[in-house]
Subunit: 202 residues, 2 copies
Amino acid sequence: MTIRRLSVYARCLLHLEEDGVRTVSSQELADRFNLNSAQVRKDLAYFGEFGVRGVGYYVDDLRRHITAILGLDTQHRLAVVGAGNLGMALANYDGFAGRHFRMVAMFDDDPAKVGREVDHAPIIASRDMAREIRARSIQIAIVAVPTESAQTVTDQLVAAGIKAILNFAPARLKVPREVRFKNVDLSIELETLSFYLAKGSK
Amino acid sequence: MTIRRLSVYARCLLHLEEDGVRTVSSQELADRFNLNSAQVRKDLAYFGEFGVRGVGYYVDDLRRHITAILGLDTQHRLAVVGAGNLGMALANYDGFAGRHFRMVAMFDDDPAKVGREVDHAPIIASRDMAREIRARSIQIAIVAVPTESAQTVTDQLVAAGIKAILNFAPARLKVPREVRFKNVDLSIELETLSFYLAKGSK
């Protein structure tokens, strides 16, 4: 099972919990969230211990279990590098809030921004990045700088001992194997829509 | 084959073209871009007509073909709703630039922003959204407003005849079946990294 699907299930189960739903079958889950029902059935069978014959799965138990697998039962300390529009949008993104992730610092070069606070986290000068990442036990960094500075920033993060990087710059970055690295390419999502528009117009 | 994978291949092939590579085997493609090689072999076999035995695939022919399938041989006119940090970041996102998509308008409520230009596109008052979407033949809208206004904005877009919506607000939105709709949940990417951090620490 892909990690991405686990993450999607955790989200769906949380929505069900919020709606007061106590048990759910794989078919209901698939219908309600527009998922592939054969896939959901196969995936959830893996968590048979949380199922009850004829009823489905206990929503809270299953969600807690999946959350633990995802490593979301602890809080990860993260930094956002780049306090431009994208960095500020990410720092204020509702979806990142909550128990799982906590932004403890932002980094930027702009003296006009350094010293200000965003969502209780200070904006710190980029030249202090290595020291502050260690001092604040930051594990995850989000790269939200312009394309041309993305590799330099990434090299600095790696040198500072960061363990995981989420990159939003549309750049091809080199990262050593031991660092977990993920590119978020926002144009891929747009291209998916483009496909359906093209198909619809024929 | 998923549309998402097609989009990834199109990107990889473009990178190869930029690097002056003329032919590529599925194994080379997988190695170079860290893809699952069995999957790539299976997917590309579908495009056998662009292959040469013992050599691989012609990079430019294959890319042009995939681009056409994705509906990226025409230009889509899009609007960004919400000129806050996220909207501005998306409007200026390098990855959206180019021939495939063209932002022709932004919409916002803030009188201080209305009338300004972003990347040659005007910021227009939200109350004129329906009229301007029709007048400017806008097909795709990107929703980058706060969670609490996301459903209202989406309803207005649907009523104005928009065909595809890419939503960045972490909200559960209702959209009629005939409109192509995609949620971009940025926290899912973070959670994937969290999984690997948790695994590594055990």
